[in-house]
C-alpha cells in the first residue's frame, strides 16, 4: 500500500478500477495531526484530471508498473523524448504527463529518471528526490540587508524559478527537492 505521504509527481496508484497518476503537487496545508496535500491526478483510463485533497494517512493500492531508467534526450515543443539507457529506444511523453517534473529537467542532465509504464505505455516520470541545478539568474544578496527577507527568487538552468537563500548567486549549484520544487541545499 502507498500512503499519501509517499505520493510524488509521477506516482501511480489505484482506486478501485481507476488508475491515477499524480501530475502536480498543488500545496500542502494542515494542522497538528497531519497534512492535507492538494494534488492534480490524471485517470489513465478516462484521461480526465481532477484536483483532490488527500489526508496524510490515507492508503492506496499500488499498481504493477514497469519502470525503466532513461535520460531526457531532447524537448520538441510540448513533447519530451526520453532515451532508454539499455535498449536505446526512444519514448515520448507529453509535457502535461510530466506535470511539475517538466520544470525541473533539461536535456543536458546526466542523471537517470524512471519512466513508468502501465500496460506497455509510458505514463509518467519519477525523478530522484533531489537533483542538481544551477542558478542562471538572481539578484545579488546585499550585505547588511535589513529588509527582513530570508530568500529571493532564482531562475534555474531548467527555467524553473525557486526561492533560494540570500547567499546564492548566479552560477551557484543547488540541490532541488523534486517532491515540492523547493531549495534543499547548496551543492558543496
Amino acid at each position: 500500500m502507498l500512503v499519501t505521504s509517499q505520493l510524488r509527481v509521477g506516482s501511480i496508484f489505484k482506486v478501485g478500477k481507476d488508475v491515477l497518476v499524480v501530475q502536480r503537487m498543488l500545496g500542502q496545508k494542515g494542522g497538528r495531526n497531519g497534512m492535507v496535500t492538494k494534488m492534480r491526478v490524471k485517470n489513465l483510463l478516462t484521461g480526465g484530471t481532477s484536483d483532490l485533497g488527500l489526508d496524510s494517512g490515507e492508503k492506496f493500492d499500488e499498481v504493477d508498473l514497469d519502470l525503466h531508467n532513461m535520460k531526457l534526450s531532447y524537448i520538441d515543443g510540448d513533447t519530451y523524448v526520453f532515451l532508454d539507457q539499455t535498449s536505446f529506444e526512444q519514448y515520448e511523453l507529453a509535457k502535461d504527463d510530466l506535470g511539475d517534473n517538466a520544470q525541473y529537467l533539461t536535456p543536458e542532465d546526466d542523471f537517470d529518471v524512471e519512466i513508468t509504464f502501465y500496460e506497455g505505455k509510458p505514463v509518467g516520470v519519477v525523478l530522484p528526490i533531489a537533483i542538481d541545478r544551477t542558478i542562471t539568474y538572481c539578484e545579488p544578496g546585499i550585505k547588511g540587508d535589513t529588509s527582513g527577507k530570508s530568500t529571493k527568487p532564482a531562475t534555474l538552468d531548467s527555467g524553473y524559478v525557486v526561492q533560494v537563500p540570500l547567499f546564492c548567486d548566479i552560477g551557484t549549484k543547488i540541490k532541488l527537492d523534486t517532491r515540492d520544487g523547493s531549495f534543499a541545499e547548496r551543492v558543496k
Partner: protein
C-alpha cells in the same frame, strides 16, 4: 440518517470539546441526525460532558451512542449488532484522526456494495487556504468510500463556526451590561467564587493559555489595575499554575481566582461576561470571536513557529473591523505573545497587553462588529448537513 463522529483526543480537551459542541449543535437541528460518537478517551470526554460514564465503553449519552475506539473482542462484539441494523454510511473524521480498525473493516468490506461518505473535519484556521480547501473532494482506496474536506472558518466560503443553543442563549443574556454582570455572578458562584457587588463592577479578565512565564502579563494587569480594579480568573489548565506562580512572585498585586475545571457552559458564560480574555487553541478561539469581547489568542505552537502564520492570517481577517490606531497594539500583542518555538513555564516573550487593556472599550466596538458578521455566517452544523445532503 445516522452519522458516526470519530475523535482521537490529542490536545487536552480541544478535540473532544469541538466534537461535543458539534454533536450538541447537530442534535438541535430540525432534521437532527442520529449520532454515534467513537472516542478513544472517555475521561477527556466526561470532563466536557459530565454525563459520560468513564467505566462504560458502550453507552447512551444525550441520545448519542458512545462507542470505544478500541477494545477487546468482547467489547467490540457487544456493539456489532448496532451496525448490522444501522451500518456506517456517513462518517465524520475529526481533525484527520483516522479510523479504528473495526470501522475501517466495515467501510471497506468488499461484500458491501453501498456507498459511504467520509468527511474530514479539519482544524479551524483563518488562513486563506480554508476557502480553497473547503468541500474539496478527497480519496480513499475504494470508489465506494467517498471523502471530502470540510473546513471550519471565519468566511462565507468555509463551513463557519459551531453555534449551539446554550451559547446563543449566553450571548443573548450577556448582550447588555446588566446581563453581563448577572452572568458574572452566576458563573462565579457555579465555580465557588464569592462575588460581591463591587467585584461585579471590576474589569474581569479570564486567562486560559498554554504554559509560559506570565510575569509580563501579570505586571501589565497590575499596572492597569491601578487605574481600574480588576478580577482575574485563571481557568484550570496549562496556564493556571504558571499564571499563579507569576502572580505570587509579583506579590499578589490583584485578586486572582483559581477555580477547578470549568465546564463548557460556564466557560461560555465567562467569555461573554469578561472584559478581556486570553484564550488558547481553536475551540476557545471560535467561542471568543463569537462572544464579541476583546481577547488575545494563544495559538498552539508548531514547527518553525508556523503558528505565527496562523496568527497573522487571523489578524488580517480582524483588522478591517477596528480603527488602525487601536488595532496596532492588539496586533503587536498577538504576535509577541505567540512568537515562541515551544511552550514551557520559563518561556518569556515580549508581549505587552497594557495598551490593549487601556483601549479595551474602544476595541470592544471592533470585536462586536466582527462577532456580528461571524454570527451572520450561520451555524457549522447546518452547513455540514447541507453538504451531506448534497453529497449523499
Amino acid at each position: 440518517m445516522t452519522i458516526d463522529i470519530l475523535c482521537k483526543v490529542v490536545d487536552n480537551f480541544g478535540d473532544i470539546g469541538v466534537v461535543y459542541r458539534l454533536a450538541r449543535a447537530l442534535s438541535e437541528l430540525d432534521d437532527a441526525p442520529a449520532l454515534r460518537i467513537i472516542v478513544d478517551d472517555l475521561k477527556a470526554f466526561s470532563a466536557v460532558c459530565p454525563e459520560v460514564d468513564t467505566r462504560r465503553p458502550v453507552q447512551t449519552v444525550r441520545g448519542w451512542t458512545v462507542l470505544p475506539w478500541s477494545g477487546d473482542s468482547g467489547i467490540l462484539a457487544s456493539f456489532g449488532a448496532i451496525y448490522e441494523i444501522d451500518p456506517a454510511r456517513i462518517v465524520i473524521e475529526a481533525f484527520a484522526c483516522g479510523r479504528p480498525e473495526w470501522l475501517e473493516a466495515m467501510l471497506f468490506d468488499p461484500a458491501d456494495g453501498a456507498t459511504k461518505t467520509i468527511i474530514n473535519l479539519e482544524y479551524l484556521t483563518a488562513e486563506p487556504y480554508a476557502d480553497e480547501f473547503h468541500l474539496m473532494p478527497s480519496l480513499t482506496r475504494s470508489p465506494l468510500v467517498k471523502k471530502y474536506i470540510f473546513m471550519p472558518g471565519f468566511t462565507r466560503s468555509t463551513g463557519g463556526l459551531i453555534l449551539d443553543g446554550p451559547f446563543i442563549e449566553a450571548l443573548a443574556r450577556g448582550a447588555d451590561i446588566a446581563g453581563r454582570h448577572q452572568r458574572r455572578i452566576d458563573s462565579a458562584r457555579s465555580l465557588g467564587i464569592a462575588v460581591d457587588h463591587a467585584m461585579e463592577q471590576n474589569f474581569w479578565i479570564v486567562v486560559f493559555g498554554y504554559e509560559r512565564d506570565y510575569a509580563r502579563i501579570v505586571a501589565d494587569i497590575a499596572e492597569f489595575g491601578r487605574q481600574r480594579p480588576v478580577v482575574v480568573i485563571a481557568a484550570a489548565g496549562k496556564s493556571q499554575p504558571c499564571l499563579k506562580t507569576a502572580w505570587e512572585l509579583a506579590g499578589r498585586p490583584f485578586p486572582l481566582e483559581v477555580p477547578p475545571f470549568v465546564e463548557q457552559q460556564t466557560w461560555d458564560a465567562l467569555l461573554v461576561a469578561a472584559d478581556f480574555s486570553i484564550v488558547r487553541g481553536e475551540d476557545s478561539l471560535s467561542r471568543a470571536a463569537l462572544a464579541g469581547r476583546p481577547f488575545l489568542w494563544h495559538a498552539y505552537p508548531q514547527d518553525g513557529t508556523y503558528q505565527l502564520v496562523k496568527v497573522r492570517a487571523l489578524l488580517d481577517l480582524m483588522a478591517p473591523y477596528f480603527e488602525a490606531r487601536h488595532f496596532a497594539p492588539l496586533r503587536d500583542a498577538f504576535i509577541a505573545f505567540n512568537d515562541r518555538p515551544a511552550d514551557g513555564q520559563h518561556v518569556v516573550g515580549t508581549e505587552s497587553i497594557l495598551p490593549v487593556l487601556r483601549s479595551a472599550s474602544s476595541l470592544q466596538t471592533g470585536f462586536e462588529r466582527w462577532s456580528h458578521d461571524l454570527l451572520s455566517l450561520g451555524t457549522m452544523a447546518a452547513h455540514l448537513m447541507t453538504c451531506i445532503h448534497k453529497i449523499v
